[in-house]
Every structure is written in C-alpha cells, then in structure tokens.
C-alpha cells in the first residue's frame, strides 16, 4: 500500500509528462522522457518502450532509460509464445513477472539478464481503436511484488502514451506527405498544373505552369483560365466547352495549342478535371498538362515529309511510265527498247540517290549532278574537259529533268558524237549569273563537241537523236523555263542551256 505523499507524487509525474508532451513534437524525446519519469516514479533503474514490428514478428527497443549503449534503437525481442511482451499485447492487460528466475511461462532475452533484470512489468500501449503499438516495460534489479496501485498507475500512463504516439505518427506522415507533394509539384516543371474556381478563375498556379506558360503566380492568380487559350479557340468557345464537358463528365481532354505570356504558342497535352466538394457540387477545376510542343512539331514535320515522299514517289512513277511510253514509240524492237529504257532508268536512279541523300535545306549542286552522270559513262569521263564553278545549287524540282537532259546529251555523244571518235573532243563549261536582267540567278551551261567527222552512217543516225533532242529542246523550257540552243554543226554539237536557279532555301521541293 502506498502512502498519500507517494500518490501525490505519481499524479505529479503524470502532470509533468503531460506538460512535456505539450512542449515537444519529437516522439523519441517524448518516449525517452516517459521512460525516465516512470522509472523514477517506481524507483526502478530501467524502463523501456518496445514497438511492435509486425513484418518481422519482433518488437524493437524504441526508447528507454538505464540501458547500456547499443540497446535502445537496436535490441529486439521475439514476439512468440514464450514472450512476456507478446502475452501482454495479446491480452491487452498488464503482465507482471515478479522474479524471472522463478518464471516458468516465459523466457527472457539475454540483454535483460546482462543488465541484471530480475523483475518486470509489461503494460500494453494501445493506439486509438485499440490497435496495439507495443509495450511499456519497467525492469527491476531485485524481485518486487507490484501492487494494484502500481498497475493502475502504469495503465494510466500507457493510456496517455497511446494517443500521443498516434498523434505524432500522424503528424509525421502528414509532414512526409506534404513534403512529397511539395517536391512533386515543384519539380514537375514539364507539367503545367493549374487550379481554378467554380467560375474557372485561376486560384493556384504551380511552378510547372509558370515555367511552361511564362506568367508568375502573382501575375495570373484571379484571371480567367481562358486567357491561356489561343484567340481562335477563345472565339470558338473552346474554354467554356471544355469546362462544361468536365462539369458534365468529370473530365475533359485539353490537347491543343496554348498561349504563353510572351504571345508564343505551346502545345499542351492535358486534361481538365472537375473538383467536387463533399456535397458533390463542382467547386473548381484542375488542369494538368504536359508541354509536348517539340513532339508535336516533329510529328507535323514527319507528316509533311511522308506526304512529300509519297508525292515524289508517285511523280517518279508517272515519269517512268511516260518515259517507257515515249521510249517504246521510238524503239525499233524489243531489245532496242530494253537497252534504251534500262539506260534511262539508271539515269533516273542516279538522280534519286542524289536527292535522297539531301537534308532538308540542302540542294544538289550542278557539278555534283554532272559528275554523277559522267561517272556513269565508264571510260569516257576522262576525255571530257570541264570548266565551271562548284556549288551552284539547283532547285530540287529541276534536278530530275536536268539530269535526264544531260544524260541524253552524254548518250548521244558516246553513240554518235565527240566520244564516238578518238580525234573529237567534248568540253562542258558553265557559269553562274547571280543576278540576270530579270533579277533572278541563272545557270548557263555550254556543251561543245569539236572535231566530229560526219560520215554517211552518222548522218543517217541523226534522226534517231530526235527523242533525246525533244527532251532537251522541249522539256527544259517547258518544265524549267530554260532557254535552249541546239545546233548540230559540221564539227559536232553545240548546245547551250540556261536555267533559272533559286537561291532561297525555303522554296518548295515539290511540283505536280
């Protein structure tokens, strides 16, 4: 039986502990102080709080007083059927072991014996909802018969501890959640996150929105969200439509161009979600979107390129078709057709490979085109005298027909002209006129064959040159606006071709 002074003292201990809890928000400090006060009140050297570790089936010495280093925060007890702590937790009632030497029900961890513990009392700590948190344990170095007053005091103490621990854990979780939330929204710079009120006026402007759309929070809070839409979308009523859809269906896609503070546009792939209060009424909207401008632009570019490729292919097939038709009309027989047609197809293929190597703003140059054609005339190229500047850029739409024309000239030179006779010569000269009388740049090409002896045989062959000549004399002026002079003189062919060339890089690649 304890006396009145002692009872008063115990009440004082509870009050002190309550005071300490009010002034502290560190769970570790509170549990340690709790152990210190309870040990002092019960004249014990040792006290500790054990926290259940469910996944391990153990309890950790979470806090304590009187223990050697390496126990608090480290030592564990097994919560099995031989554990006094487990028993107390299971029953929800205090459990006294007055002398562990005589205790038959339980075994005790070694560190307890090493600290000279001979008696102990376990009091379960319950969280609100009676969920066990662990035990408060007071350990003594001499046998002691705990009285009913001791037990009641310990029970009261443990009942205070439970809600305190619970509040601390919730505050910790909340702080953790808040911190995580802060980290997420502040680091998600690629996502614009905007909250609006029921009238769709902006109430929250997170850092991602500021970095994507340019306005600071101060500048935009309170403004209607529709100012983020393009004038076209505003005129079309898109902002209202989106909010109405979200109000009706919970959410609405928001995948469109938006306007930045500086007037530039950004393509946002996002969604507007209606926010509802506890009564189900819409209280505002959350808009989350990602800046996908780069992806969008590359998709658009891709689409244009695919379109151009398709167009170029179809055009090429059309040209091949017409070429076959034209070659067939001029051919004597099938082997003749085959030879001529295959030859022209190869010329077309060479142009395609030149064109397909180009980057966007690149152009095929005249010297490249000429060397590709001459390189195909194996054995003859070294007999050709070349004179002209490198790097005259050709519009892509002109390259194909110009290549076919050069090919006709070269083929005829090999078959009937300068390259068919050892004494004859071929000189190709060209010059670039940056600004002709009409104000646009021109390329002037001169194809001069000399020393060709015209025999009866070649004279008879000349009519068959009609087909290639037609390509030069008619196709070039028609398709390129070229000026062509074609003269089969006594010593051989003199052909001049003047082609307007564009210097701009943005001109269309396309025709047809």
């Amino acid at each position: 039986m304890i006396n009145a002074t002692e009872l008063l003292h115990r009440q004082q201990v509870l009050a002190d502990f309550g005071q300490f809890v009010l002034d502290n928000d560190d769970l570790q400090a509170i549990l340690t102080e709790g152990c210190r006060l309870i040990a002092a009140a019960l004249n014990a050297d040792l006290a500790k709080v054990l926290e259940i570790e469910r996944e391990r089936g153990t309890a950790l010495v979470r806090a304590g007083v009187g223990w050697n280093a390496g126990i608090v925060g480290h030592a564990r007890v097994q919560l099995d059927e031989r554990s006094s702590e487990a028993h107390a937790i299971r029953t929800g009632e205090p459990l006294i072991s007055a002398d562990i030497e005589k205790e038959k029900r339980f075994t005790f961890p070694r560190f307890m014996r090493e600290h000279g513990v001979v008696a102990l009392v376990n009091v379960p700590i319950l969280l609100p909802g009676r969920e066990p948190y662990g035990v408060l344990q007071v350990d003594l170095r001499e046998p002691r018969a705990f009285g009913q007053e001791d037990i009641q005091f310990l029970r009261t103490y443990a009942m205070v501890l439970g809600p305190v621990i619970d509040r601390m854990n919730k505050a910790r979780d909340l702080a953790h959640t808040t911190e995580r939330y802060r980290l997420i929204v502040e680091n998600a710079r690629d996502y614009a996150i905007v909250l609006t009120d029921e009238q769709d006026k902006i109430t929250d402007w997170l850092p991602g929105a500021a970095s994507i759309l340019g306005w600071t929070a101060e500048e935009i809070l309170g403004k209607p969200a529709e100012i983020l839409f393009t004038p076209e979308d505003q005129a079309a009523g898109q902002p209202e439509y989106e909010v109405d859809t979200a109000r009706r269906e919970g959410k609405a896609p928001n995948v469109r161009w938006h306007v930045r503070k500086d007037g530039t546009r950004v393509f946002i792939d996002g969604q507007t979600t209606a926010l509802r209060g506890p009564d189900g009424a819409v209280t505002g909207f959350m808009k989350i979107g990602q800046d996908v401008t780069a992806r969008r632009e590359s998709e658009e570019r891709q689409q244009i390129l695919v379109g151009e490729l398709q167009h170029r292919t179809r055009n090429l097939i059309a040209v091949v078709h017409s070429l076959a038709d034209k070659t067939a009309r001029a051919s004597k027989d099938l082997p003749d057709f085959k030879a001529r047609f295959a030859d022209r197809l190869r010329a077309l293929a060479r142009v395609q490979s030149l064109l397909s190597r180009l980057e966007d703003t690149d152009r095929v140059t005249f010297d490249e085109l000429l060397s590709s054609e001459l390189a195909a005339m194996d054995g003859f190229a070294e007999r050709v005298k070349l004179d002209g500047p490198r790097g005259v850029r050709l519009r892509s739409s002109t390259v194909q027909v110009l290549a076919l024309a050069l090919h006709e000239l070269a083929t005829n030179a090999v078959k009937y002209g300068a390259l068919s006779q050892p004494q004859a010569s071929l000189a190709i000269a060209w010059r670039f006129e940056p600004k002709a009388a009409d104000g646009i740049p021109w390329l002037h090409i001169e194809w001069r064959e000399d020393g060709v002896v015209t025999s009866g045989k070649t004279a008879r062959a000349i009519p068959s040159r009609g087909q290639g000549r037609d390509l030069i004399e008619r196709a070039l002026p028609y398709q390129l606006g070229a000026k062509v002079y074609f003269d089969l003189g006594a010593g051989g062919l003199l052909c001049t071709i003047s082609v307007p060339v564009s210097t701009s890089t943005h001109e269309e690649n396309s025709n047809g």
Binding site: G307, Q310, H311, R312, T313, R314, N315, I317, A318, V319, V320, H321, S322, L323, D325, K326, S397, V401, L471, R474, A475, Y478, Q479, G481, E507, E508, N509, S510, N511, G512
Partner: protein, 124 residues
C-alpha cells in the same frame, strides 16, 4: 474508225512534269481534242484562261511547281467548265469545296483520264 470521242473539244491541261504532260497531250489529240497548253505554271494557266473564251474541260495537276492550282479551279467553276484533278498527294490535300470533283492519284492512266473528260463533257 469510230468518231473521235472529243472531236473539236478544247481541253486545258495543267501539268508541270513534261513527260506526263506530253503523254496526256498525245492521248487527248488521238481522241480528237484540241489541247490548250499544256501549261506548267499557275500564272501560265491564268493567262490561258483569260485568252481562251472556249474551254470545254480541264485536267489540273493540283500542285504546279509548288503552287496550288485552286485559283484556276475556282475560275473554271465560275465558268461552269468541268474539270478533274490529278495529284501526287492524298485526297486530303484538296480543299473541301472541291470534294465533288474527281481526283486522280498519280501515276494516272492517260486513257482513263480522257474517258473521264469525255463523260464530264457529255454530262455538263
């Protein structure tokens, strides 16, 4: 030999690829038509429209050297001249106001184009 289907009919041809234009020209001439053009540029096509009071039909390449042909198409519509498009692009490259106009994907079959023109003239 049967009566040429397009005898004395004036058909405008706008096509910037010489070889293709020439093939059309040959095919139309064989059907008895008078070929207007062919032209390879939009400006040439416009000039031809101004000069020619009588045009019975037209074959329009949708894109002439990077320029769309739709100004010509509008002018022809105004004059109630039937026409068809030829194009290396998808149908989607043609504006909605021309959705009732036949559009032939390149490579086109010249003789099919000629029969199409003949039907258009007969029905107009």
């Amino acid at each position: 030999m049967a009566e040429p289907m397009l005898r004395d009919r004036s058909v405008l041809v706008a096509e910037d690829e010489y070889l293709v234009a020439e093939e059309l020209e040959v095919e139309l001439a064989a059907a008895g038509a008078v070929v207007l053009g062919p032209v390879a540029r939009v400006t040439d096509a416009l000039a031809l429209l101004d000069r020619q009071p009588k045009i019975d039909a037209a074959i329009l390449d949708a894109n002439l050297q990077g320029e769309m042909i739709f100004a010509i198409a509008d002018a022809l519509t105004e004059r109630s001249v039937p026409f068809v498009f030829t194009t290396g692009y998808d149908r989607s490259a043609i504006p909605k106001r021309f959705e009732h106009i036949l559009s032939y994907q390149k490579p086109t079959d010249a003789s099919a184009l000629v029969s199409s023109i003949q039907r258009l003239i007969r029905n107009s």
